[in-house]
Assembly symmetry: C2
Homo-oligomer: 150 residues x 2
Amino acid sequence: MKKNIASIALTLAACAAALPAHAQFAKPEDAVKYRQAVFTVTARHFGALGGMANGKVPFDAAAAAANADVLAAVHKLPWGAFGENTSGAKSNAKASVWKEAAKFKQGADEMDATVAKLVVAAKSGNLDNLKAAFGPAAKTCKSCHDQFKE
Amino acid sequence: MKKNIASIALTLAACAAALPAHAQFAKPEDAVKYRQAVFTVTARHFGALGGMANGKVPFDAAAAAANADVLAAVHKLPWGAFGENTSGAKSNAKASVWKEAAKFKQGADEMDATVAKLVVAAKSGNLDNLKAAFGPAAKTCKSCHDQFKE
């Protein structure tokens, strides 16, 4: 058990080291508010791309690129706001975020990788590229929500 | 009075025309949640630059640039979420947002212009540039909050 805790601590330390300096929070509730805000913005622009990928709204290359620009800027921001000091704060995050920190980091990395590909596809001006990249990105979102979100 | 209403309607129509297609909302409360989320993200990264500009945290050129990248991507996003159909939704926006729509748009434009300059300054790697650009941007934020936010 001690080893597990040490391992989690190391994983969290590794996450923290990878964070930009601007992503550190003094108060846990500030971090929660921030990460929820980032997810709201992400969901909005991700959803707009999904609407086009799924044929619910007509493909608009300029709008796709604009949504992609926002996604590119925000999709990595939440991870720095899941510090261990936020594990007790009121939020929709399950305790597994911190108890299975390595798995959570893996999910975040997979999401970042698929969203990075989605951003490129959405800026290509080609609907087929967008369609091909949207599914894998949506899958990584859902996978993390299923495991780590109430 | 009729003329005033017509003038406001024209102003709002002009705003709407300037909005990207991805910034349209079906439900007023979705728009409110989104614009509040954008302001939360904006405030966080704006505040990080302010900390450096005001000498509260050491200047870090890479962090300043990273914060500026986020600001650049998000600072124009809220305006599309102040549609007239959101004027009755629960939020911190005063009725003056819609009653004095032209003035609100002017404030938004001024904020966008000063933040665009702040982004350039924050990415210059020069603390003096950042200091010079931060004050005017902060002033436009405050001015709008004083007039249009509860």
